[in-house]
Amino acid sequence: MRHLLSTEDLSPADLADLLDLTANFAEIQTRDIKKVPALRGKTVVMAFFEDSTRTRTSFDLAARRLSADVVTFSAGSSSVKKGESLRDTVETISAMGVDAIVVRHASSGVPRRLTEWTDAAVINAGDGWHQHPTQALLDCYTIQQRFGSLEGRRIAICGDVNHSRVARSDIDAFTKLGAEVVLVGPRTLLPPSLEGWPVKVEADLDSVLGDLDVVYLLRIQQERLGSALLPSLREYRARYGLTRQRLDRLRPDALVMHPGPMNRGVEIDPEAADDERAVVLDQVAAGVPVRMAVLYRVIGTGQFDLDDDTPGREVAA
């Protein structure tokens, strides 16, 4: 794997491989010493042109636990705001000799463009409304942990699908692993065209709630009100929010998921967020081993033996 730009570039076998590898790294996270030397001598740059504390921290920990050197580059403290072009910025970073660039940007397609300007591996940590592939992987891992597999599972993704990179990545990954995906939300928040999307669409959350394995809630942003996409957050909660009443109708073994940060009282009521079926913290926890797996596949040399439980040992080539 040269880069990780989109779940669209991953085959079902690639997804399965990354999830297997994630399980190995997750096991390492249970050890007393959580650090392995798999990426010793490698340099990873965190290029976060859009702020994101959670994703950046997760990638940062993942890289450090693989013994990579980590440099953080955030737009606020960089020359980006002084008018330097994206290309110049990336070429400058590359010239310092880095192995991987983890990039987050508010504009769709930036990670893809970066690959044209650098020899380093590019890992997409979220671009615009487009893709967030490591989020999809950690979501798949979380579901797989609970159900053993995604095959045949019925998953509703609820809310602002059109503006969601998480939804685009999740839909692709979930369906590649055999799950059935139904999108639930007002037409104004669904993509203008769903041509070619392997999904069903349902306007009424209550009609599907009873036979879901997973209800995946997307964050609703206040700014959607200004562009006539929603009448009010109150109305959104009434029609699409996971309220206490709806929670009662959810199957006992179903999962409640959310990419965070949650708007309690809008798309998810506090009772639902704190319900034992909510696995939001499991999702966050899966983030580190998932990103270790991705970094390892993208810039690892393949010589490190994960089954060797002696920390600090590498296997000779």
């Binding site: 072009s85 397609g109 487009h130 893709q131 065209s193 041509e195 562009s227």
Partner: protein
């Protein structure tokens, strides 16, 4: 007086039909064409002209088509105001290399062409140009869509076409008044003025950066629906009906627009239309790599739109292919797709792109229709049919393009004569190329090389 003879080419113009694109045998009807750079006229058309002009320079046109030089209804030439991206001289060199004899300079300069002073500046700058530069006037003062520009004053200076492009005037009342006012003014030759309009409803287009459809959904980019264009096309046609005015619709991009214009012509409205070359060849799927050079305005649409636009060119619903040549600096086009400015250069490649499409396509772009849409039809709309667009006859102005229809080449935008390299066709393999361009009897391009 220097006479140049184009030898052994096959003339094609509105009086001579074009050969079919799949003819591979030797071209019949090959003749010599003699032009004179002092008078700027064609002096003779016939066999073996060298005997009559023993001292003439000869340029080989064997195996080539010789057509009236092309006329572009709309290019952004960068001057005054945007010299970092383009100058009239560099754009005109690209134009000559692309076979153009005349280019309409759109009015979105800085300052914009809403005063006699800017027209005068353009005419002065055009002295360095390799082809004729035809200033378009702004339709409204400052192109702000509110108050009319001094249409009569500019018309007295020879301005024929008025447009706020690439802006689309949103106020129907302003467009109505412009049509009514322009109808009472004639240009310097006594011909009626043309109100030209880009068609984009700002409210429906919103912050869109591409066509709204399957690809915008997949790429996670805001899209504008075809309706954003068709709504304004509908409005312009209704205003033409109301006022009896002369409307030209610029850079149409949707199947619905073609259908609307076709019906309007049947009805007898005084409407003409043009399309950009990219919209006859590329689709929204070409945006998949997020290359801002594929970000155009209007945006690339679907394959069904491409097919409808081709049919519109073939049946004359679309009168002209206009380059929409829009130079952008490298820095600007290295912004992310959603932030980068829209537009592509095109003066150098439009003819070759269309010849390639004609050769590759299923016969849906006949060569005759293409040349009509590139030369004599836009010449008539621009009000320069007295001197541009042929026919190729003794006594007519000698603006000619010699086209080698068979040569295959790869376009490298970085080597363009334009100051900018933002082409949506960069790296494309093309079939057919300009061999020579003659403007006013002077060979400004010889063997694909600009002469100044």
């Amino acid at each position: 007086m220097t006479v140049t003879i184009l030898t052994g080419g096959r003339p094609v113009d509105q009086t001579r039909s074009a050969p079919s694109t799949d003819s591979t045998g030797p071209l019949d009807a090959a003749v010599d064409i003699a032009v004179d750079d002092t008078s700027g006229l064609v002096v003779a058309v016939g066999p073996n002209l060298a005997a009559a002009h023993p001292d003439a320079r000869r340029l080989d046109a064997t195996g080539c088509l010789v057509a009236p030089a092309l006329v572009d209804l709309g290019a952004h030439l960068g001057q005054p105001g945007f010299e970092g991206a383009e100058t009239i001289e560099t754009a005109s060199r690209a134009a000559a290399l692309g076979g153009y004899g005349a280019v309409v300079a759109l009015a979105d300069t800085d300052p914009c062409t809403d005063s006699a002073a800017v027209v005068a500046e353009l005419r002065a700058l055009a002295k360095a140009a390799l082809c004729e530069i035809l200033p378009a006037g702004a339709l409204t003062h400052g192109r702000d869509g509110a108050a009319l520009a001094p249409i009569g004053e500019l018309a007295d200076l020879g301005v024929r076409l008025f447009t706020d492009a690439p802006r689309s005037c949103q106020d129907a009342s302003v467009v109505r008044r412009a049509l009514e006012y322009a109808a009472g003014v004639a240009d310097a030759t006594g011909a009626p003025l043309v109100v030209a309009q880009r068609c984009r409803a700002a409210d429906l287009a919103g912050r869109a950066v591409m066509h709204e459809g399957a690809w915008s959904a997949r790429l996670g980019l805001p899209g504008q629906p075809a309706l954003a264009e068709e709504l304004i096309v509908t409005r312009e046609l209704a205003l033409a009906r109301l006022t009896g005015g002369r409307v030209h619709l610029q850079q149409l991009s949707t199947a619905g627009s073609v259908a609307l214009v076709r019906a309007a012509k049947v009805e007898g409205l005084r409407v003409t239309a043009d399309v950009a070359p990219a919209h006859l060849v590329l689709t929204d799927a070409d945006c998949a790599g997020y290359d801002p050079n594929l970000k155009l305005d209007p945006p690339l649409r679907t394959a069904a739109d491409v097919a409808a636009l081709r049919a519109g060119v073939a049946d004359g619903t679309i009168d002209a292919v206009a380059t929409g040549h829009r130079p952008c600096t490298r820095d600007a086009k290295e912004l992310p797709f959603d932030e980068a400015p829209a537009g592509s250069i095109g003066l150098e490649t439009t003819l070759a792109v269309l010849l390639t499409a004609a050769a590759d396509g299923a016969g849906d772009l006949p060569l005759g229709s293409l040349l009509a849409a590139l030369s004599w039809q836009p010449a008539a709309i621009a009000g320069v049919a007295d001197r541009h667009g042929g026919p190729i006859e003794p006594g007519r102005a000698a603006h000619l393009v010699v086209i080698d229809p068979a040569v295959s080449w790869r376009y490298d935008a970085a080597r363009s004569a334009s100051r900018s390299a933002n082409s949506c066709f960069d790296g494309h393999r093309l079939t057919g190329r300009v061999r020579h361009t003659v403007v006013a009897g002077e060979p400004v391009v010889i063997e694909g090389e600009a002469q100044r």
